[in-house]
């Protein structure tokens, strides 16, 4: 059974980079969002189990999405993939419930490793 997945990033290229790493059988159940507001709508209306989330986005950013997830009390494993690698930012997303922080450009081995560690693979 493959989990329902959402990839949220304002860059089409970044979304593709994540998608191509995911296991083949997951790819049928992947949705995408290009900003935080879109992501929150999809999260609210669907039972998303795994979210890959960018931080720096126009409008509602990744931090806003993490706060929204807490507010809506959604049970979703969030993996942040961002270019904002400042240690303070990494700590902040972890405090807001993100399972892991990954730096861009995303690395396939690291991503798959994290999914395994969190029992998703």
């Amino acid at each position: 059974m493959s989990p329902s997945v959402l990839i949220c990033d304002d860059s089409n290229m970044a979304r593709k980079q994540v998608l191509r790493i995911l296991p083949e059988q997951w790819k049928t159940s992947v949705q995408t969002a290009s900003n935080g507001a879109e992501a929150l709508t999809i999260l609210r209306d669907n039972n998303i189990e795994v979210l890959f989330l960018d931080l720096t986005m126009p409008g509602i950013d990744g931090i806003g999405v993490l706060q929204g997830i807490q507010k809506l009390k959604l049970n979703c494993s969030v993996f942040v993939i961002s270019a904002d690698i400042q240690p303070a930012m990494q700590a902040k997303v972890k405090a807001l419930g993100a399972k892991e922080f990954m730096r861009k450009p995303v690395n396939a081995d690291i991503l798959l490793n994290h999914l395994q560690q969190h029992g998703l693979l």
């Binding site: 304002d10 860059s11 089409n12 290229m13 970044a14 593709k16 980079q17 191509r20 931080l55 720096t56 986005m57 126009p58 961002s82 270019a83 904002d84 690698i85 400042q86 303070a88 930012m89 730096r103 861009k104 450009p105």
Partner: protein, 202 residues
């Protein structure tokens, strides 16, 4: 559509490469100043050189500008302009924890500019399998037309440029710095080729 215009995919790809470079430059700045830098989405636009030079020159009497040329393989080159509002450049000594007289304000501006420019461009270059070389950075005197003269004296001719604007904002000191990269038209064509290569590999 002019040949210097980026397609939607090229623009998206370039923006992502810039995001990554900006993130690492911000991280360096944050470590150097022991603070946090707030990242905004950078802007990329095509500009007409004449109009741009006029706009920048009008703003310039209120800011300090450090300019540094860069060039890599495959004809990728441009000019990086770091601009600081006057009230911010006065605050740099506090941020850096320097004693008065330890290092002149000009030297401090050069220090910060060099960290931002070289980190940004080295990370950018690495992502496109390139390597940048740099001209010596130059602090432009805060007088009318010094930026205008400087831009007109640049070693490349250009009517159209790609203008990339990145804002670095230090949250706890309300310190602001703008990085403007100007890529002249011949280099735009070379960058477009590089972007197409990356996109084809996706």
């Amino acid at each position: 559509m002019s040949e210097f215009h980026l397609t939607e995919d090229q623009q998206d790809c370039l923006q992502e490469l810039i995001n990554i470079a900006m993130g690492q430059a911000s991280d360096q700045l944050a470590r150097y100043l022991d603070t946090f830098v707030y990242l905004k989405v950078p802007s990329i636009e095509s500009v007409d050189a004449k109009g741009l030079i006029q706009t920048l020159s009008q703003q310039q009497n209120t800011m300090a500008v450090v300019s540094q040329g860069f060039f890599g393989y495959e004809g990728i080159r441009g000019e990086a302009l770091l601009s600081y509002q006057e009230e911010d450049s006065g605050r740099i000594a506090d941020l850096l924890g320097y004693e008065p007289d330890e290092l002149s304000q000009d030297e401090q501006l050069m220090d910060i500019s060099s960290i931002l420019t070289t980190t940004f461009l080295n990370v950018f270059a690495r992502q496109i399998d390139n390597q940048m070389s740099y001209n010596a950075p130059k602090l432009l005197p805060m007088v009318q037309n010094s930026l205008l003269d400087h831009l007109q004296q640049m070693t490349f001719n250009w009517d159209v440029a790609l203008k990339i604007n990145i804002n670095y904002q230090v949250t706890d000191y309300s310190f602001n710095c703008d990085m403007i990269l100007l890529i002249p038209e011949t280099a735009i064509l070379n960058i477009k080729n590089v972007l197409d290569r990356i996109l084809a590999d996706l």
